[in-house]
Symmetry: C2
């Protein structure tokens, strides 16, 4: 099975959100490469993840991870998103880049503060150019829930992208780890998911949601 599955590189794969996604893909039989600024740290995290999941996990410096991945996931804090993506631009050519970035602006992370012009990922796509197939997804999924590999994720994933085929690949990658994902329209529509994360943080505080609130889309005929 795993032989037919794409190699997924997760840049920022030692962070909570990136590690949770990486571990779930590893467990599902994908070959996973964890990228980090520090190759040694990536290797350590990869060894631990391989033991935990029984999967095929390597750890490399971000640029090498981006080169090794057939599909690349960007899961770093907003402050580092642009610089890292530009650093590894050459390694992304022709590939699908799944951007998980939420434009949180500390300290007011429960307040929506989208960048001028709309969504953070649209600005990224402009920067990287059309040679990179940027898709936005997973911004609303609680890292806490991802970390427990057997726990159901109580959040639908809105998948936004201008490249419909790339978007469909990401929808399937989410479903492969048990997460319901939906085509949410063009990349510009990522603004909704990017903004929603701050709303969910506000809701977590107000309603004391320890595990992390999520969203479900209602009204859709069964997707199973």
């Amino acid at each position: 099975m795993a032989d037919n599955k794409a190699v997924i590189a997760v840049l920022g794969g030692t962070g909570h959100e990136g590690a949770g996604l990486a571990a779930r893909w590893a467990k599902a039989g994908y070959r996973v490469v964890i990228g980090s600024r520090d190759a040694g740290r990536a290797a350590d995290a990869a060894a631990e993840m391989a033991a935990k999941t029984g999967g095929d996990v390597r750890g490399l410096a971000n640029a090498d991870a981006a080169a090794a991945g057939e599909i690349v996931v960007l899961a770093v804090p907003y402050a580092g998103q642009k610089a890292l993506a530009n650093d590894v631009r050459a390694q992304l050519e022709g590939k699908i880049l799944i951007d998980v970035t939420v434009p949180l602006v500390p300290p007011k992370v429960a307040r929506v503060q989208l960048p001028e012009g709309g969504s953070a990922v649209e600005a990224l796509q402009k920067d990287l150019g059309e040679g990179v197939r940027v898709v936005a997804a997973f911004q609303n999924v609680s890292a806490h829930q991802l970390a427990d590999l057997d726990a159901e994720v109580n959040c639908d994933v809105l998948v936004a992208g201008d490249d419909i085929e790339a978007r469909e690949t990401v929808v399937q990658l989410a479903r492969a780890i048990g997460i319901t994902a939906l085509h949410a329209g063009p990349l510009a529509n990522s603004a909704a998911a990017e903004a929603l994360t701050s709303v969910l943080i506000a809701i977590n505080k107000r309603y004391k949601v320890a595990d992390g609130a999520g969203i479900r889309i209602t009204g859709i005929p069964d997707l199973a």
Copy 2:
């Protein structure tokens, strides 16, 4: 019961979304005033709504409706939002204004196109000044579902506002018509709900949802 309930004026109350909300409040025992550009049209719609709901419904020109309402709802297309609110500014002083506006930009209504600076309602609050207690809500609720007064609305309402007491009033007004509403943070957080409407339109198209897709927030301890 109805004597203790606020008078709710719905500007744009002859439109689909406004009429659906107005009818549900009328049915729940609130005194409702329908506002329209055309007082005659408002009166006709009010008579019809009173007959249908058994409620107390009047119809007036928008400015008179705004004057009569203790709480005012703005439910007009985005293109008319600012002008109407400014026209009736004097009648809004000290009141809660519930803005239902979604900044859709035809013809691409399935594409998120938030105004510069973020949410449409934040721009409105700036325009009207602090004397009006602006709260954003109901942007994601399908007018189709509102229209069937006995149908369950399959969508949680995100209520955003800087005035927390006003926000709580709106949360309760939603619950009074059987709709789950949640405190979603400051007015800026309305950007999420404003953007989500275009995503839901995109989902309605893609997944052929006739009744209108909605959202539910997951993970919150029972609100009932």
